[in-house]
């Protein structure tokens, strides 16, 4: 089968899974529903692998034409190049692992089949997002994942205690994403206006080959609109507050959607449109600073969070900020590299936290955990690997990807480098804090809970182990030049530069070997120092995060998420409420009601008068009718 034929198949399997589970899932045994969904995703992964291995030139596969009018031609087509296939591999690969994990994690849930329907639907939408051949398909997938995300965040909407909050979190995510989506949509319209098409191939040809470019302002508008879309989906300042709240969803959802795949959609969008951003330096600047700010702010907030998932959520935001810094520096392949390693270790950490929560019978507060390292051994080891990877421990995957970003930042400006180092240091601090508090020390919850603590089943630990291995060795995908002088280096770099439009035109200067080594030394030193201090603070001294009341000023500031939500409340919600109230009292109840009631009264009054004519008698009606007819005919007779 040719790649053109395989591409639709790739999309079809998750859709079939969603369809079967969505229609007949209620009647299927749980094991069948779960296995079906997992299998469908895995088959997709295998197909993606086949395509990936055989792909040489970009391939376009037309499904059908959506709109074909004079000025607008929109195809539903799929487009495979190394970028989209790489994303597809991450999505389906990590996706199938998380499906597998969910089979264990959700096994006691009554909405089991629904969950897998949503998951498969999400995979389908995400594949459309990355595999679509134009921005419209991307938008289609974009909205699709938005809906799936909404459904999955509020999955436990009927929970007795937290159901309402879950629903609110889902709505918050949905609405915040709408803001970004509006930006994206406007960007697409502007793009349609200036290029006349939304096809990637045509746009890239126009920009790169024909050098037809809209003027600077238009290009800035387009790129900034696309970036606004990206900030919504990828949780950047100012639209990031939905992501920590989205942790209300089941943990596999957090792992799949809010760590590994959906949040990278914004990054994918920017990488996909790299040639546009290349000609919009000002937008890149904005991306850089936004990413930097996001990274630092989120890392800071993560320092004093006590909910295991919230820590990871802010960590995700912080890491995404880091990736956006890379995007701002035009280090696209590095960004994708970090996306990949981040997908591995963040999925691992989330699934690990899921395993912990599973062991703790649903408890998420780290202050109640402690000393779990002997009780859930596999989870402990894999979680440790994840922690080391994200903290940049030498030779783990995160080390390489982070290092590359730091290297480019150093090449760009020292200030940015230092700020990034601060962010990275904070990352190491909160991750080690999390690790030590959860797994070391003494168990701090009731005996009853302690009695129940148990290792998760194989379906949950297997994905953990696979992801742990990937987190360790993920770095080889893009080994920097100083290691293995030869062909193996910069694998991902070469791969993406091969056939992804625009990327081959960008020549980032890798820092020279000495600089690289120095920077690595700094990073290793930071990581090791943090590890050492953390182990002393939390392991030797056995410190426990203090209660909210005892926090110092900066700690409270961090714990309260830097009051972002409150800030938004004051900035947006309150004024809107105030406006609404004003409009309600003045415009609605006074002016509008006045007009409407006036109209009603006038109609009623005149109706009262005219009603006298409505005798209700056919005779008089037809009499009037006859007079009317006579009038008409006479008029025409006279006119003739």
């Amino acid at each position: 089968m040719s790649i053109q034929q395989l591409l639709p198949l790739l999309l079809l399997f998750p859709l079939i899974g969603a369809f079967i589970n969505g229609t007949a899932g209620k009647k299927l045994p749980k094991i069948v529903a779960g296995s079906l969904a997992t299998l469908m995703t895995f088959v997709s992964f295998l197909i993606a692998l086949t395509i990936f291995l055989n792909l040489d030139q970009p391939v376009r596969s037309l499904l059908f034409t959506m709109i074909d009018i004079d000025s607008l031609h929109l195809d539903a087509a799929l487009y495979a190049d190394n970028l989209s296939m790489w994303m597809t591999l991450i999505i389906t690969g990590v996706g199938s692992l998380i499906h597998l994990f969910s089979m264990g994690y959700m096994s006691h849930d009554k909405g089991y089949y629904k969950f897998f329907t949503y998951l498969n639907l999400f995979i389908f939408s995400m594949l459309i997002l990355v595999l679509g051949s134009n921005y419209f398909m991307l938008f289609f997938g974009w909205e699709g994942v938005g809906i799936c995300s909404y459904l999955l965040i509020g999955f436990h909407y009927d929970d007795e205690q937290k159901g309402l909050l879950n629903g609110l979190a889902a709505r918050k995510a949905f609405i915040m994403n709408r803001i970004g989506d509006l930006g994206l949509l406007i960007g697409l319209f502007l793009m349609l206006l200036s290029f006349g098409t939304l096809e990637y191939e045509q746009v890239s040809r126009m920009v790169l080959v024909d050098k037809i470019l809209p003027n600077g302002n238009m290009l800035f508008a387009i790129t900034i609109c696309l970036f606004i879309g990206a900030t919504g989906k990828s949780a950047q300042i100012p639209l990031f507050t939905w992501l920590p709240d989205a942790m209300a969803g089941p943990t596999p959802v957090s792992a799949l959607i809010h760590a590994a795949t959906m949040v990278t959609a914004g990054i994918f969008l920017v990488v996909r449109s790299n040639y546009l951003f290349h000609y919009a330096p000002f937008t890149r600047e904005i991306i850089l600073y936004i990413g930097l700010a996001t990274s630092i702010v989120a890392a800071f907030i993560a320092l004093r969070q006590n909910d295991i998932k919230k820590v990871l959520a802010y960590s995700t935001v912080s890491q995404l900020g880091l990736i956006f810094v890379a995007l701002g520096l035009e280090a696209y392949t590095t960004a994708i590299f970090h996306v990949t390693t981040h997908a591995f270790f963040k999925a691992l950490l989330f699934l690990g936290s899921g395993s912990v929560i599973h062991a703790m019978s649903g408890e998420q507060d780290i202050r109640k955990m402690g000393g779990l390292k002997d009780k859930i051994r596999i989870t402990h080891i894999t979680f440790l690997i994840g922690t080391l990877a994200i903290s940049g421990f030498p030779l783990f995957s995160g080390f390489y990807s982070k290092d590359e970003i730091l290297g480019y930042a150093f090449g760009h400006s020292l200030t940015i480098y230092i700020l990034l180092v601060i962010s990275v240091t904070m990352t190491a601090i909160y991750m080690f804090r999390l690790y030590f508090v959860v797994f070391h020390g003494t168990f701090r919850d009731s005996k009853d809970v302690e009695h129940h603590v148990h290792e998760s089943p194989l379906s949950m630990t297997l994905p953990l182990m696979v992801l742990a291995v990937l987190s360790v060795i993920g770095g080889v995908l893009n080994l920097p030049g100083i290691f293995l002088h030869g062909s193996g280096t910069h694998f991902l770099n070469n791969l993406l530069n091969k056939n992804v439009a625009g990327l081959d035109q960008i020549h980032n200067v890798h820092p020279d070997h000495t600089t690289t080594l120095i920077l690595m030394g700094v990073a290793v030193a930071i990581c090791l120092t943090t590890l050492f201090i953390s182990s002393i603070v939390y392991k030797k001294k056995g410190s426990v995060p203090s209660e909210d009341a005892q926090l110092s000023a900066w700690e409270t500031f961090s714990n309260k998420k830097m009051y972002w939500d409150e800030l938004y409340d004051i900035l947006f919600v309150k004024p809107i409420e105030w406006f609404s109230k004003v409009f309600y009292t003045i415009v609605d109840s006074f002016i509008l009601s006045g007009i409407i009631e006036g109209v009603v009264r006038t109609v009623a009054f005149s109706g009262d008068i005219v009603r006298k004519w409505q005798t209700g008698k056919v005779n008089s009606y037809i009499l009037w009718m006859v007079f009317g007819i006579i009038g008409f005919i006479t008029y025409y007779l006279i006119k003739l």
Partner: protein
């Protein structure tokens, strides 16, 4: 004036006269009977116009079925001259004026309409064969649809006159 014209004129006069009596009779049953007479007159006009089939169908359908129904209902409700509702004189006068003016105006409008003579006329169009070919060829869909109309009218009538379920209170 030829014989045919004379006959047509007399027939026309009778038609108008009996139609007028339908309206002017104070007794509903007499109205019905005059209407039947009018239908016979109109059938005669059809025969004058070479439309024998329509003429006989007119008698079967209108005089033989519809008017029997009217008469049946009148008898069933036992309506007679005494129960006939009276119309106010003012209404009568204004109606008469309106009707008269309408007729005058319409006649005035149509009087001068010019028609050219059509040569290729065929005097067998009123025969059953011709009409049948037309009905089952060109107008077969309306024909079938009209059967549906009949069925629904029948169902409607049966439903309405069922005594068990009172629809209006």
């Amino acid at each position: 004036m030829s014989t045919v014209e004379l006959i047509a004129t007399i027939l026309g006069g009778l038609t108008v006269g009996s139609a007028l009596m339908v309206v002017l009779s104070t007794h509903p049953v007499r109205s019905v009977l005059f209407l039947i007479l009018t239908f016979f007159m109109i059938s005669a006009n059809y025969i004058m116009l070479n439309a024998q089939f329509i003429a006989i169908v007119n008698i079967i359908v209108y005089a033989g079925a519809i008017m029997v129904l009217f008469l049946f209902v009148l008898m069933l409700l036992n309506l007679s001259k005494d129960t006939e509702p009276k119309t106010s004189v003012l209404m009568k006068i204004s109606a008469a004026i309106a009707g008269g003016v309408l007729a005058t105006v319409l006649v005035a409008a149509l009087k001068d309409a010019a028609f050219e003579t059509i040569e290729n006329a065929d005097n067998t169009i009123g025969l059953v064969e011709q009409l049948g070919m037309l009905l089952f060829d060109k107008y077969v869909l309306p024909f079938e649809v009209s059967s549906i109309l009949f069925i629904s009218a029948m169902v409607g009538a049966v439903l309405l006159s069922k005594k068990e379920k009172q629809i209006i209170d």
